[in-house]
């Protein structure tokens, strides 16, 4: 009798709790999903029969064959142009670590056989945060810091004195400039605001490349609809000599080259950082390969800690746009100013 009378008083709360619990679980807050460790992805791959001795999953292992491949060789060449104070501080393993980050040649062989073993669709749920996304920005940064084990190789802490002596106005309270940029490491160029840049008629050349090779390591994380877009070797634009006019920024060059080469590119202007933000190139967008994926750029082997509209190019610079699946850890550009 009591049950008949108060049936709904009990059923409805139970139903509501069940629906909320299901939503909570499905929304990515399940303990299993929250507790994933970043090594789980690459490590799980490493357990699948890997004949190649090069342990690509461990970003910190020194690469054995870094001289064999063109990008790494480039990066090493670039090191020489960096003032001695920078490379001297991090010691001899700088080039080796950068070599790993550049995805050395032997990796390609291994990478290409991995997707064949497992279908890309099978693993999309395994990517960080699942398909829906459940990590906060801070969680992503922490997770990336955990894998990187601190800052990336070859970078030093931002030099406040150096930056100020070069004319960067840094707010003493925040330790950043008006566009929330940390001090630039010693020896690196300072940001030049696009509205102040004077573009002259002097034509210069730089090398531009666009690569999404990091996706090849995480094919199982990639949005199934985008798998067909990834080139077999990861190059969207192989290193190409492009002409630019003195005073132009990395963004200007990227935009013009993408138009000329008919490569799709979408950006968004972010007034807060006074720079364009590259959302997607070649229809590969941020977050398409997990929650920590997106486009990054490096000039002469350094990932600048400011936006691409504020990086003024010099003659002979080497600009590389790389797609990261791990907040820059997998391409060697996690903390550009050290920590």
């Amino acid at each position: 009798m009591w049950w008949k009378k108060n049936k709904w008083k009990i059923m409805i709360p139970v139903l509501i709790v069940a629906v909320l619990a299901a939503a909570f679980w499905y929304g990515g807050s399940a303990p299993g999903l929250q507790g994933w460790t970043a090594e789980a992805g690459p490590a799980a791959q490493a357990e699948t029969p890997v004949t190649n001795p090069s342990p690509a999953g461990d970003a910190l292992a020194p690469a054995s064959g870094s001289t064999e491949n063109p990008p790494a060789a480039q990066a090493e060449g670039m090191e020489s142009s960096v003032p001695a104070s920078v490379s001297g501080e991090s010691g001899g393993d700088v080039s080796g670590q950068n070599g790993t980050a550049e995805l050395p040649e032997p990796e390609y062989g291994r990478v290409l056989e991995t997707p064949a073993g497992q279908s890309p669709e099978a693993g999309i749920d395994s990517r960080p945060g699942g398909t829906e996304g459940g990590m906060t920005a801070q969680e992503k940064v922490d997770a990336a810091a955990e894998i990187a084990g601190g800052s990336s190789a070859g970078v030093t802490a931002g030099g406040t004195e150096y930056s100020e002596s070069q004319g960067m106005v840094i707010d003493p309270a925040a330790g950043k400039d008006q566009y929330l940029t940390d001090p630039v490491p010693e020896g690196r160029p300072l940001p030049v605001e696009p509205q102040d840049a004077e573009i002259s008629d002097t034509a210069c050349t730089c090398t531009l490349s666009i690569s999404c090779a990091a996706i090849l390591d995480h094919m199982d994380w990639l949005d199934p609809e985008k798998v067909e877009l990834v080139p077999e070797d990861g190059w969207i634009l192989k290193p190409t000599e492009v002409t630019f006019y003195e005073g132009e920024s990395v963004f200007n060059v990227l935009q013009r080259t993408c138009k000329q080469q008919s490569i799709h590119m979408e950006f968004e202007n972010t007034p807060m950082y006074n720079s364009a933000y590259i959302e997607g190139i070649h229809n590969l967008y941020e977050f398409d390969c997990g929650e920590r994926s997106g486009w990054m750029y490096q000039v002469n082997g350094w990932f600048p800690n400011y936006g691409c509209s504020r990086y003024q190019l010099q003659d002979g610079d080497v600009v590389e746009w790389v797609y990261t699946c791990d907040m820059g850890v997998d391409v060697g550009g996690f903390y550009s100013t050290g920590n």
């Binding site: 609809e225 985008k226 877009l229 008919s262 799709h264 590119m265 979408e266 950006f267």
Partner: protein, 299 residues
């Protein structure tokens, strides 16, 4: 309660099931064929139900809204393989984003048209009959909210007529005076709405609404005709759902437009969907013909 058409005379469960199926399918299927089917059948049914008024509202409100939705998407979304040209902002204008905008506009207008049919067929007494026992408070609130706008509009008319008769309408006096009158009318309306809500709640309570053991008079019977309709709706729903799960209604817009191949099986899903969407129109037309024949026979 007089029925708008023959389909409205079916059991409320059938009416509700039909609209639930059609609305869910419209919102989930982005296949252009499905969208066209849904839009065309919703417009057909709306015109059958509301006549000229439906044509007028769809031309006056739906068409501009569709155009706006179709234009807004390519302005903000630049994904897609086919770059047509570059927008002044520097971002590409892609064919895919235009197509997606058109599809989204079609979906939006189809859903709105379906809801206009829904309000004509699923009157609040039917809704309360269906859900009054399970969720008494919510169904009362829902039916009150859904009725709120038309009731508010009618009351606005009454209030402004009354104010006009004492010379305090928005059509009299200086701009400031008119504004003041308009605010007075709004204030009267809000007061009325609040009081009316309390009165409704009180009167429902005094009639024992939502109490256990309370019965409600209703003339709805689930007869053979409803059973046949249930079987038909169930078949269509399951068939289309199975087709959807199997990818027979798959369509993607980004990064390039691609969809399920046009095979006899995938076309059959669309045909069944079309049949499902047009069920009420088909039921109504058959009944109309029967009536016409009977009348002619009597003469």
């Amino acid at each position: 309660m007089q029925n708008r058409d023959t389909f409205s005379s079916y059991h409320p469960a059938i009416n509700f099931l039909y609209f639930a199926l059609v609305l869910v399918f419209t919102m989930f299927f982005m296949h252009p064929a499905s969208l066209v089917i849904s839009l065309v059948s919703s417009l057909t049914y709306a015109i059958y139900l509301n006549g000229r008024k439906a044509i007028r509202s769809s031309l006056l409100y739906l068409l501009p809204m569709m155009l706006m939705a179709a234009l807004i998407n390519p302005a903000f979304n630049h994904e897609g393989m086919t770059v047509l040209t570059y927008l002044p902002s520097g971002n590409p204008l892609t064919a895919e984003s235009i197509l997606y905008g058109a599809a989204a506009a079609m979906m939006l207008s189809a859903v709105i048209t379906w809801f206009s049919c829904y309000t004509a067929v699923m009157t609040s007494d039917k809704f309360v009959y269906l859900f009054g026992r399970i969720i008494p408070a919510l169904s009362l609130v829902l039916s009150m909210t859904l009725r709120f706008i038309p009731k508010f509009k009618a009351q606005l008319h009454v209030v402004s007529e009354a104010q006009r008769s004492v010379g305090r309408d928005v059509s009299n006096g200086s701009v400031l005076q008119r504004l003041r009158n308009a605010v007075t009318i709004l204030s009267i309306l809000v007061t009325w709405a609040l009081e009316n809500a309390i009165e409704t709640a009180d009167s429902m309570k005094s009639r024992g609404y939502g109490l256990p053991g309370r019965t409600a008079f209703s003339i709805y019977r689930f007869d053979d005709r409803d059973k046949a309709a249930l079987v038909w709706l169930g078949f269509c729903g399951l068939y289309i759902f199975a087709g959807w799960m199997a990818g027979g209604l798959y369509w993607r817009y980004y990064p390039s437009v691609r969809g399920a191949v046009a095979a006899p099986l995938t076309i059959s899903f669309q045909l069944v969907y079309f049949a499902l969407c047009l069920t009420p129109v088909w039921v109504d037309l058959l009944a109309d013909r029967k009536w016409k024949k009977l009348r002619e026979g009597n003469v």
